[in-house]
Amino acid sequence: MSKTKQLLLFSLLFMFCWMNAVSQQLNYTVTTIGKHTDEVLGVFVNEANTKFASCSLDETIKIWSLPEGKELMTLKGHLGAVYNISFSGSDQLLVSGSEDETVRIWDVQTGKELKVLRGHTGPVIGVYFSQDDENSMIASTSFDKTVKLWDVASGSEIKTLRGHTEATNNVAYSYDGKTIASCSDDSTIRVWSTELKATEPIMVLRGHNAPVLTVLYSFDSKKIASSDANGEVIIWDAKTGQIIRKFKAHNDLVQDVSFAEDNKTLVTGSLDKKIRLWDTEGPFLLFEADLGVGVWSVDLVSDASILVAGCEDGTVKLLKKSIASQKGKKK
C-alpha cells in the first residue's frame, strides 16, 4: 500500500471515529411534554434552570418545571396572541408581550398578573427583562417600529428608541446591563446604550438580507446572535459590530436562537421543522433533530443538556441529552 493510500485510509478512519464520537456525545431524546391549544410562539428557560415558560397564539402562557417538564400553571389575561416572554434576572417575575398591544408583568410563584403596561401603538412582538437582580427594567418591541423601556416599579414608559424603519421584532438586554440590541423587518440590528440620556443607537449592524427575527447576547455579553427570515444566522462582535460568522442555519425562517452558558453553543429552531445545535466557533453542526413540525421557539438550559422547543402544532417538546452521552460530556 502506497503512503498516499495509507494516509487516506488513516484520514477516513479518523473522520469516522471523530464523527462517531460527536454523535455519541450529542444524542438527545425528544419528548412531547404538553400542549397549548395553538402555535407556541415563545419559550424561555429561567436563570436557575428550574422552570421554563411558553407562550402561544392561544393567548396563554404556561410555566413548566425542569428537568421534569411538568406543567405548573397557565397564565391568562392577554386578549391576543402572546408573542414573547422573558424571566427577570431574579427569576421572580415574567414579562410577556402580546398582539393586544400590552406588556404584562406576572408573579412567577403565584401566576398573578401584577401590571399591564400600555404605550405601544401596535402589537408587542418582543420583550426582555433586564438581567439585574433588582428586576428594574423591561425592553419591548412592536409593530409600531419603536423600542420602549419600562420602569418595572412604577410601570412607567421611560424611554422610546426610534430609528428602525419597519416593525421591530425582538430585543435583548446584554447581561452586563450596558446595552440593548433590537432587530427589525428593516433587516438591521440596532445596539443602544441603556443610559437614559442616550437616544441614538451606538451601532447599526447590517449583514442580513431579510427581516431580522431575533437577536440575543451571549452570557459574557461579547457576542450577539441574530437570525432572519431566510434561515441565516449571524454571530456579531458585540463591541465592534463586526461579523464573526455568518451561516445558513436552516431552509426556512429562524424565529429563535439561544446561547448556552459556554457562550459558543447555539441552538436554532426553524419552520423547516428542524432544531439544530451549533458550535459557533466552528461553525460545526453538533446535533440536529427533525421534530416533524415547524419550530417557532427554542431555548436551552445553561449546559445544553436540555433543549426546549415550542412548535407550530401547539406542542412543547423537551430534548434531553441521553445518559450514555452525558458520561462523555466535558464539564
Partner: protein, 235 residues
Amino acid sequence: MKKMSILIFALIFTISPKSYSQFFNTVVSVTGNIYNAITKAPISVNIELFDANNTRIQKVKSNSKDGYYFITSLKPGNTYELRVSEFDYMKQAFPVVVPNTDKYLEVSKDMLLIPKKIGTEIPIKIKLFEFNKPNLKNGAEVFLNDYVSLLKLNPTVKVRIVCYPDSPADAAKNGQLTQERSDNIRKFLIEKGIEQDRLIAQNSTIIDPNNPIPTGKASKGKKYVGFCYLIIDAY
C-alpha cells in the same frame, strides 16, 4: 430662630451636595410623538399638561414634521395627564406616571389622535371576542374603557358600532354573530354611562375589507378574528 434654620439648611447642603443636587436639579420631562390614529401621519397639535389637582402646568405644540413634543418640569413620583383639544380631532387625555428618581429622566408617551370627521372608522384592534363567539372576553373592559373615556370627553359625538365576522361562512350566522357582538359592546358602553341614543349597533355579513383574512405565509402565527369599529356618525 430664623438664623438657626438658615444655618441648618446651609449645613445640610454643604455636607451633602448630593441632596442639594436632588432637591434642586432633578428634572423629569415627558416626550413622544403624536400621530393621526387613522393615517399614522405625524401631526402638529397643542398639548396641555395637567397635574393631579387639575392645574395646567404647561402647554406646547408638537412638531408638524415628526409629531414630536417635549414638556419639562415634571416632578418625580407624581402623576399627570396630557390633554389634546384640537378642532379637527376628538378630545383625548393620556395619563403620565413619573417614577421616583434622583436622575434626569424623560418619560415617554406616544399618542394617536382620532380625527373628528363624519365617517371616520375607529378600529378596535384588540380581539375582544373568542373566535366565532359573541360574548366579550374577560379583560376586554381594560380596552373598552378607553372608548368610554373618549365618548365622555366628546359628548356630542355619536357612533355606529360595526363588527365583522371571523370567516366567510354562512351569511345568516355571520349576521347574527356580528350583531350580537356589536350589541354587547353597545351594552358595555351604556352601562359605563354613555347615552344610548349616541350608539347604534350594526352587523356585517362580509369579511372586513380593510383587514382581510391572511393567507399563505402571512397567515403563519396568526389567528383571525374580525375587527370591530366605531364609526363617527355625528359630532
